[in-house]
Amino acid sequence: MMKITVYGPGCKNCVSLADHAKEAAEELGLDAEVEKVEDPAEIAKAGIMSTPGLAIDGKVKVKGRVPSTDEIKELLK
């Protein structure tokens, strides 16, 4: 199973990033779990300072912006 992690303290951008990620996984029919990390210390631990951030299977792919659903699909492939 794939693990998608969304890093962000819960602002608007983080919520829309999580939504995009869920949509992308669903549209690809992937067995993926979307996890949200809101604790600032955990976010910093992942090496992310500009939120929101997105990691796939523990590897940070995007930070500081909200990628579109299509872009996340590309990353998931």
Binding site: P40, A41, A44, K45, G47, M49, T51
Partner: protein, 323 residues
């Protein structure tokens, strides 16, 4: 072009007469709002393109090797260009400390970032002109640099929450290699995001500005907040700190106040206090620093802003910039 658009909307569609006071004010309002939103969109686009090269992660690596003074200066410059929304304050703070950036240098970044940014600069240059715009840019950075140096010199490392020092990151995450197409998409997304967030403030700010233009008693304001009152700067900063707004909402109000005879330094320091120090920001900072450091932060930044205010009032009397 914007002028004729405003003509069309106000005189043709709304049927207002250009010769009346109401028609004139509504026209002024529509013209200003449109002009500023168009300029903002263009500027945000280009600054976001530049910004896509300066992530906070990269910034922290640059700053961890810098010593005091040079570090404070570079941090302040980075504060102007870095992407930074208030929701990132805590991760940025922890990330900086973790990367070994000195506390004072970290504060130079955090102080400058909300005071000077592209939104503030666009509004200042278009409403006040280049002289005051540049003065604001330089003095905003000065507040960040001096504030950071003072906080650094006080040795307040103990006033940071302990857990911040215990965070050990797996090292900065890999820098994304963005293509030009991605940078352009990022810049477009930023325009959409920022404009959709601030258009209300622009409208409210220009609206209040228009009311002040039309109805505020100039003699009264000039008497209490003009050059004649030595306490005006202190009062302006005192009013500004609890008021919370961003640059987009504050600048049109400041412009109207300046026109009504409020002194230049008083206006600028009121504006800076409003955007630099606010309750929501203190609540966010409280997650990483102890109350004592928050109090010191407010005192140091507040005094620096008061200093800027008096300096400008003095410079303005000597050189008459505001006119």
């Amino acid at each position: 072009m914007i002028e004729s658009l405003a003509d069309l909307v106000v005189y043709n569609w709304m049927g207002l007469d250009a010769a009346t006071r109401l028609g004139e004010s509504v026209h002024f309002f529509v013209y200003d709002v449109t002009k500023i939103l168009v300029l903002l969109s263009i500027m945000i686009f280009f600054i976001s393109l530049i910004r896509s090269f300066f992530s906070p992660e990269k910034t922290s690596q640059v700053l961890s090797h810098k010593n005091k003074y040079v570090g404070n200066f570079v941090a302040s410059v980075m504060g102007v260009v870095s992407p930074f929304c208030s929701c990132s304050t805590v991760p940025i703070f922890i990330g900086f400390v973790e990367a070994g950036v000195p506390l004072g240098v970290t504060f130079s970044f955090l102080i400058t970032s909300p005071i000077v940014n592209e939104i503030a600069l666009v509004m200042l240059y278009s409403l006040f002109g280049w002289k005051i715009g540049t003065l604001y840019l330089v003095s905003g950075m000065a507040v960040g640099i001096i504030g950071g140096i003072v906080i650094g010199a006080l040795g307040l490392e103990d006033e940071v929450e302990e857990y911040v020092y215990q965070v050990e990151s797996d090292g900065p995450s890999e820098e994304e290699k963005m293509t030009w197409e991605e940078r352009i998409n990022y810049a477009k997304a930023e325009v959409k995001d920022i404009v959709s967030r601030i258009w209300k403030y622009v409208i409210i700010g220009i609206g209040i500005g228009a009311i002040i233009h039309g109805y505020a008693p100039a003699e009264l304001l000039a008497k209490y907040a003009g050059q004649g009152n030595p306490w005006a700067v202190l009062m302006g900063v005192g009013f500004g700190i609890p008021l919370y707004s961003n640059a987009a909402g504050t600048i049109p109000i400041a412009e109207a106040l300046l026109n009504k005879g409020v002194a230049l330094g008083t206006t600028l320091s009121f504006m800076m206090a409003t955007v630099a120090l606010s309750l929501p920001q203190m609540v966010i900072l409280r997650k990483v620093i102890k109350p004592k450091l928050i109090a010191i932060f407010i005192a140091v930044v507040g005094s620096a802003i008061v200093g800027v205010g008096y300096m400008f009032n003095f410079v303005d009397v000597a050189f008459n910039i505001a006119m």
